[in-house]
Amino acid sequence: MKDSRISVGYLARVEGEGGLDVVVSGGQITDLRLRVFEPPRFFEGFLVGRSYQEVPDFVSRICGICPVSHQLTSILALEAALGVEVPPEVTALRKLFALSQYIQSHALHAYLLAAPDFLGYPSVIELAQDHPALAARALSLKRVGNDLTALIGGREVHPVGAVVGGFPRAPTPRALLAIKERLEQARGEALETVGAIAGIKPPEFSRPTEFVALTQPDQYAVNGGRAVSNRGLEMTAAEYKKKITQTQVPHSNAYHYTVAGRESFMVGPLARVNLNARSLMPAAQEALSRCGVAFPSDNPFTSIHARVIELVHSVEECISLIDRLAPALPRRGGPLLAEVKVKAGEGAAFTEAPRGLLYHSYTLNSRGLVERADIVTPTAHNLRRMEDDLWQFVPRVIDRPLEEATLACEMVVRNYDPCISCATHFLRLDVRRVG
């Protein structure tokens, strides 16, 4: 394959619309583009002028796969802007909410999006015919995650249960304890998943990478915390714009990001497990030692291992959160809300979405209307890294038949579990005041 072109018109089994073009000439890559043609939807544009109360409902619509992350990140950023302090139960319930989505999203990715690649099927549908038990496990895990999201937020996609200040109707202890029983069953399924993944040998492809993830001293960081990296980056959400550089490229409706003064970086499960393994729940640490891969790992193909480790962690932490929360919640549900006083202000927040670091930042005017909104999603953070991976990886597969080489390139992209709808909503630059 001296002169050729790998072209994936429409990347399958990723969320959103993206394509890939690689031009090889004389055995050398002459051009490589990860095209994001998902049309832009201008969320930061139309958020301007809306009330802070509406923001979580809107940002949720950025992405149907990780709506909880967008909602919670915006809520944290807005609470920072308004100076709202929430009680510990709210913080705990939020973590439960976020982790429920980890379970759903990771099960979706591991089984429906990634596993078919590793096992050689076009999709989970064909896979299910040969491995019905595996498919049943996948769906049952995903459903527990979905049901927990829906219990807290009403529905699994674009839930309505979380608002600035807390939860207008917290779940009843009885309902939480009922779902805990199912989580206990899911624990076994998550561990079996690790077992299945341990049998998969990732392609050899190690390369030095800057991993960025949130960290918190006392727990596996998900909502809030400082972002750190293995190369010494350290920042709070408020410092984000000083530390991260953004550039626009003509072939994409999405921005590219680098650590200021350095290269591309990677966010997501692999970054989190690499940086925060010691904060994993004991069962997840146990699983880590049996998953067939040594962490920290520089191989992007081990993202799936990190993801299933997080699946175990999420189930475990949900169980322990419910144990703590259930006795503290009102018997008949009811509101769990901190007081919110409207005032002008600015606030930013980080969370770890299933796919990695998510950043939201807002400026509010004195009536609580948005004057400025910035949102940077995990997939956006990773885009540059994906292209970099491809530049490195393509030469290794360039001599294989086109079909095989194309699949290999797609797999590189799917390692990141990209969420392209998410990626097309970006920083605004010039701050124009309205209202």
């Binding site: 429409y10 990347l11 399958a12 089994r13 990723v14 969320e15 959103g16 998902e38 049309p39 832009p40 939807r41 201008f42 930061e44 544009g45 139309f46 301007v48 809306r50 009330s51 509406e54 409902d57 809107f58 619509r61 950025i62 992405c63 149907g64 796969i65 709506p67 429906l112 078919p116 076009p122 999709s123 989970v124 549908i125 299910a128 498919a135 049943a136 769906l139 995903k142 459903r143 979905n146 009403g154 529905r155 699994e156 996609v157 674009h158 309505v160 249960g161 939860f167 207008p168 109707r169 626009q248 003509p250 409706n253 797609e410 709808s421 970006f426 605004r428 630059l429 010039d430 124009r432």
Partner: protein, 259 residues
Amino acid sequence: MSKPKIAVYKLASCSGCQLQLVNLEPELLDLVGEVEIAYFPMASRKTVPGPYDICFIEGSITREEEVEVVKKAREDCRVLVAMGACGTAGGPQGLKNWARVEDFKERVYQRPDWIRTGEKSLSPGEKVKIDLYLPGCPVSRDQLKEVIVAALLGRKPYLGDWPVCVQCKMNNNVCLLVASKTPCLGPVTRTGCGALCPTWGRGCYGCFGPCEDANVASMGRILRDLGLSPEEIVRRFRHVTSGAEAFREGAKLYEGQQD
């Protein structure tokens, strides 16, 4: 008899509606036994050529290319179902229809000239004939399943076009609009969500779009009586289903009015 073929197309959207198909977990494996998933890029690399029996189209049209996708979908499919707030009423991105897109591009991008997007966000129904609208942001799993089941059985889906209030009362919820004067669009919004917001303690924000014969004028007066400013009322009607006719009308009644 070969299995009916299903295709899923995507335009500008969040993919939440497609995900609802995958979220049919308990019956997903049964579903793939009954139908052939012929085109569904989010879930499969495999592409089976059309014609298709049922085609779900998610998202709204924001660029010229998407008009082509929609036309192709129409040609390829026997029954074309437009899904979601995007597919039925332009979706959240439809809010740009009430602003200048150039403003948005400038606000969002450094090099707005590299961004390819049309002036308006249109629901596919403005370009081709749609056989069934399935509203909701996202569509409800139960309704999605009902649409598929009904198509397999050869009958109309039972979706219920009545106001959220009907379902809200079935849920034994206290009416927040009356009891705590919480602004709620339940009386003019179509149910299907299961009266979610009121059940979770907050006012309905209309994500399923207007119900049949929605009395937006009376709704507007009620909101005004609760103390909402005209501007706030406009914002309520211009949420994720701002393109729906009744809500457009509702917003128009209060647009540009002073307090």
